[in-house]
Symmetry: D2
Subunit: 143 residues, 4 copies
């Protein structure tokens, strides 16, 4: 009945569970959302021998994935479905098997239709592996 632009806590808890249970790619690459609040999310990925490229470094696709996963959760945290339309990522240092990657994503700007998310991927020593900015589009609610 009411018009909520920010979901109440229960909605976010439900979404947090949903994204961790229903996101198949997240399971495939071993990442999960561990924090979620309106406009903010944190995701984790433990880099294993399954995430490295032929140089034995964490694949760029793996690093991007955990950042994008945090962005997906943060972007959808307002109770409106959001889709990513662009993402610019800077790779600053490399990762190796054994690293724990933590991606934090924060919506830094938002209009009715467009949002900008800033995300940072750090390892367990708090070194920044990647920094990215994602533009999202809030779809019209089908209400």
């Amino acid at each position: 009945m009411e018009n909520r632009s920010v979901p109440v806590h229960g909605d976010l808890e439900a979404m947090l569970e949903k994204v961790n249970v229903d996101d198949a790619f997240a399971k495939t690459v071993g990442m999960r959302v561990v924090e979620l609040s309106p406009g903010y999310a944190k995701a984790l990925m433990d880099v294993t021998d399954d995430h490295v490229n032929l140089f034995r470094m964490a694949h760029g696709g793996a690093i991007f994935s955990v950042a994008d996963h945090a962005c997906e959760a943060a972007g959808n945290s307002f109770g409106k479905p959001a889709v990513a339309i662009q993402n610019n990522i800077h790779f600053l240092s490399s990762g190796t098997s054994g690293d724990r990657l933590e991606a934090t994503a924060r919506v830094v700007h938002r209009t009715r239709r467009i949002g900008l998310i800033e995300a940072t991927v750090r390892n367990q020593r708090h070194e920044i592996l990647a920094q990215c900015h994602q533009v999202i589009y809030f779809k019209a609610s089908k209400a």
Copy 2:
């Protein structure tokens, strides 16, 4: 003996095999390089139920990964090790389980140290899912 900046066919064949055998993340997410020539590569990914997000669409990380994988092969096709330093991706349409994604990557500009790669991800109907530009840095050879 000679100073080659472009690898001969045999080198690329060896690299093509190496990337498909030794890249663990490529196996994890089910992608492989199927064409490789100096400055060009093509990679494939069959989208399955393992690649979708909670909206049942191909995860942005999966789409980026196959593009990045083609870029990695194309960037390293000149006989000099290359690392990605930045990638800007535009997501243009979505993918679903059953789609075959084809990513083509082409080095469109190159100096001694810096390269620009253009990559496009298409589905089996030749619709463009994503377009990206990656900046790479050619490391000094340790010769």
Copy 3:
């Protein structure tokens, strides 16, 4: 009365004149739109001693400006007001006083609300100085 998504020729002619007469910044930096059709525009800038930086090269702001100017015309060529929300530019070679820069912009993807424009800046020798992709947002018509 009719619902036009593509302006008729007369509209574009009027807009071409309008952009060249009313865009003050274009006059300040010496650029003008010389071609305009639905989804496409070409702009020119003659690099003079007024456009160089302290290294005597065309300032990045000048190169971006002529690209952005072509994007602005192309993005607004469909009869719907469009605003730029993001632009990723790659600087590939430098320009000097005496160069004529030609920026071509083409809308390569378009939904009801979002568009992607690809623009290229070349000099009189057809060398590419810069390549960029701009995301635009089509505002709701105030009808």
Copy 4:
């Protein structure tokens, strides 16, 4: 005689004067560097009727220019010549004649050859007009 990677204060003062005296495009569009320290610069632009587009808003090229100008100063503040190779800008709100734009640029990551600069353009009400990330390449010193 010594190998300095960070210029002493006198060098930066000289460079600050040089960029404000010798950068012709900066004069053309009315911008100037007002602060400079190793890895950081601030530039100002007063938006006048000369900076607006046909919608009477500050032209995207003007907003980018002041950001790029601050980046140029920050990137060259280490005593090594730097060139911009890529810049991703997000336009978040618009500017009008009468606004004072302040662009701050900070080098947030740096290797021997590659740097990443983060720049923000704010108006006199501290609203963010644009945010950008620029990749720079440090040229080998000709020593």
